[in-house]
Amino acid sequence: MAEMVVKESKGKKGKGGKKAKKMSTRVDLTPMVDLGFLLVTFFMLTTTFSKPQTMEINMPIKDDTVKEEEKQAVKATHAMSIIADENNLVYVYMGIDDPNPIKTDYSANGIRKILYEKVREVDNLTVLIKPTDKSTYKNVVDLLDEMNITKVKRYALVPVEPHDMDIIKKLL
């Protein structure tokens, strides 16, 4: 493997005068290549190539001095509540008192389809994301992501209220 290739100079043309043997300058590079690729492999395996992506989120400023009347109310017809519950289930209802809440999931044919429909039907749709205490962080990120996918312009992360649980009770 690691032999040096030394070419002997064949020609002995010179009649007189001893000439020093010409040594080849070629060096076997195989070990160097080995070393190079070893290091390449090392760096390839240890590197974190892609930086993680982030989702930016703006939360409303918590300010107790704002009076209840000054808060911007959402029209009931524009409001859509999404309740994230345990076992990856989602409940959706419109307005304040929807007689027909929907039970669905996080698939493309589930919540996304409903959102697309509602975005088309309702102007200024405002989505209220209400994760219950049994939901996971993934559920919340998924819902926020759905907002980006379906291009819902106004949405908020709000705590779930007993009233919400009453509405979805019959679906539980």
Partner: protein
Amino acid sequence: MPKVKIPRKSTLVDMTAMCDVAFLLLTFFMLTTQFKSDDPVVVSLPSSISEIKMPDVNIVTVTIDKSGKVFFGMEGKYNREKLIDKIAENKNITITPEQKRIFSLLSSFGVPISKLPEFLDLSQEERNKPGYQTGIPVDSTNNELKEWLKFAKIVVYETDRSLYVSQLFAIKGDGSAAYPLVKKVMNTFQDKTLQINKFRLVTNLEAAPPVQK
């Protein structure tokens, strides 16, 4: 028929080109590499279609693992040195220069402040032993995360005033972490004394679904 002599060819190949390629790649990887930080916990991030990259400098990350422990991490060795100074000053703990040096090398940690000096005296293996780091308390009665964030915000602000400080805080949560804890962390961010209302959620990239009309 006369025998056709096949001239013996040398099996030696010129390695120069290959060597060039190898070292070119090596240089590339050496320059682009960022070593994986030895986080005390592994989190499996949820995925989203968001393509905003995480900034490199001055970012402050709060990690939530699936068992509900909260870890705190800050980028930058000098920032961490400043941070530990401020914490030591305000929380009445004494930090030796050696402990400070070790702290400045920690990418993320999760111990209560009272246990911090003891924690920094341990060896790296002992520190990263699963179960040793119990997480930073975030309860309403004892919210140490708030203290860390408060001083981190000051440190970041001292380093670079031009930065949009509020965008430098990120939550790196495990997908299966329970939401109430995440809510607690978010509420800590939004605490009146901190006012971090704009922050980031670290996610993995997933392909965006086709646009529906």
